[in-house]
């Protein structure tokens, strides 16, 4: 075997995926040829260096942004620029029925919300979440940093508004379970996003308050099962 052929086989040789006869032929050549031995050394050094290159990691808010995009896409499918397999519903009569049903449910939800007092949509006055919203005491972050006297109520309205719409789960049916799951994660992701925009760190007390509120509304809590598994799952999707 000549040098050219050996150097051609070096790559395969370095992976150890050679047949035994060819392997020994290459090995013998390398042992006796300085030039090929050097080439083998260079290749091995490169492969070691490649495998030890610093690995990049995704930004901390990667999942948060991804989930927000998914919710945005699902809530405004007309704005989606990606063709989805589900988009063929127009051609199916059953699709029209479900679309009409969705419109009816959305109208019902809107009506229910319009009748509620501004600033406390679907939230009992004695709920911990409500007391957080109305609190005028200074807000401190876990690190003890003073953020400000009060985060605008509108921020919480949006958050509660999301969970509020999910609580209308009761008015719909089992097919809405998926919607509920999405809404679960969305409550928290919106909250965190909102806090970021307001320049405040996520406020754990508020999050817990929302969580309790949400559990209270969850059908799982009402049926006496063990807490709200969906909520726990949703919480695991958010990383700070």
């Amino acid at each position: 075997m000549n040098c050219r052929k050996v150097q051609y086989y070096l790559s395969t040789f370095s992976e150890g995926s050679f047949s035994s006869d060819k392997l020994s032929e290459v090995e013998v050549h390398i042992r006796n040829c300085k030039s090929c031995e050097r080439e083998k050394f260079i290749l091995e050094e490169i492969l070691v260096a490649v495998r030890s290159l610093p690995t990049k990691t995704t930004p901390d808010d990667f999942n948060l942004k991804l989930f927000n995009r998914i919710y945005a896409e699902q809530n405004n499918p007309s704005e989606s620029y990606l063709p989805t397999p589900e988009s063929s519903w127009i051609r199916r009569p059953i699709g029209w029925v479900s679309a009409l049903a969705t419109v009816a449910v959305a109208a019902l939800i809107t009506m229910v919300f319009l009748q509620r007092p501004v600033g406390s949509p679907d939230l009992p006055l004695n709920s911990p979440a409500y007391s957080q919203v109305e609190s005028t005491s200074p807000v401190s972050t876990p690190s003890g940093k003073h953020v400000g006297n009060r985060i605008p109520v509108s921020a919480y309205e949006n958050i509660i508004g999301v969970s509020g719409s999910a609580s209308n789960y009761r008015a719909t049916n089992v097919s809405q379970v998926r919607t509920l799951r999405l809404a679960d994660a969305r409550v928290e992701s919106l909250y965190v996003e909102m806090m970021r925009r307001l320049g405040a760190e996520p406020y754990p007390n508020m999050l817990r308050a929302d969580t309790r509120y949400y559990e209270m509304r969850s059908p799982f809590a009402r049926t006496g099962s063990n807490g709200s598994p969906l909520l726990r799952n949703a919480a695991s999707t958010i990383s700070y």
């Binding site: 050097r38 995704t58 990667f62 999942n63 942004k65 998926r178 799951r181 999707t237």
Partner: protein, 199 residues
């Protein structure tokens, strides 16, 4: 309680098809960094790699029902990501950007060529960027991401022999380009020359 982290991809994908967001999140966590690395090295931009990765996972969610369980999930997701990356590279070719960062990289690579004592990893990264796209993709999947040749063939939709030849070609190019820097290390390892600081 069910530990999704230990579930195989296909089981998670079945749950995702039922609309289970938590299983989807587990898959995202399982693949995001691996894919991010490959995309980053293909596009040489963290921001673009991040955007395309978002797009990749979004497509996984949107097209979850069309996933074919006969194929590995990894093959599917890599195919989506690499198609997006290739489209982006094609777009870049059409619109020639004058990237000052790229220019700075090239300049740095030139300087490093002169300086044989430059850090091998820095030099290697610069040379990897310069590899022709088809060789680079095969090389990254094999040597950075440790995919098997069979998986790469499926992802790229080319015969197994073509994948092997592309990987070999990429390695040979790197070997030639990094030879001046590594020959010195070889001589040192053989003890034929002494490092300058000893003399």
């Amino acid at each position: 309680m069910l530990n999704r982290d230990t579930l195989p991809d296909l089981d998670l994908m079945r749950r995702v098809q039922e609309g289970e967001m938590v299983s989807y999140n587990t898959l995202v966590n399982r693949y995001k960094d691996r894919l991010f690395n490959v995309l980053y090295r293909m596009l040489s931009s963290e921001d673009e790699a991040n955007d395309l990765l978002q797009e990749t996972f979004l497509r996984v969610w949107q097209h979850k029902m069309s996933y074919d369980f006969r194929f590995a999930f990894s093959t599917w997701i890599y195919t989506i990501a690499l198609n997006l990356a290739r489209n982006e590279l094609r777009r870049r070719k059409k619109i020639k950007f004058l990237d000052i960062f790229d220019f700075a990289d090239k300049l740095a690579a030139k300087e490093e060529k002169k300086d044989t004592s430059a850090n091998l990893k820095t030099l290697l990264e610069a040379e990897m960027k310069r590899l022709p796209e088809k060789y680079k993709t095969a090389f990254l999947l094999r040597d950075v991401d440790n995919l098997s040749y069979e998986e790469i063939a499926q992802v790229l939709g080319v015969p197994l022999g073509t994948v092997k030849s592309r990987v070999n070609r990429a390695r040979a190019i790197l070997r030639t380009r990094l030879k001046p820097r590594l020959e010195e290390s070889y001589e040192l390892s053989k003890g034929t020359i002494l490092p300058i600081n000893i003399l």
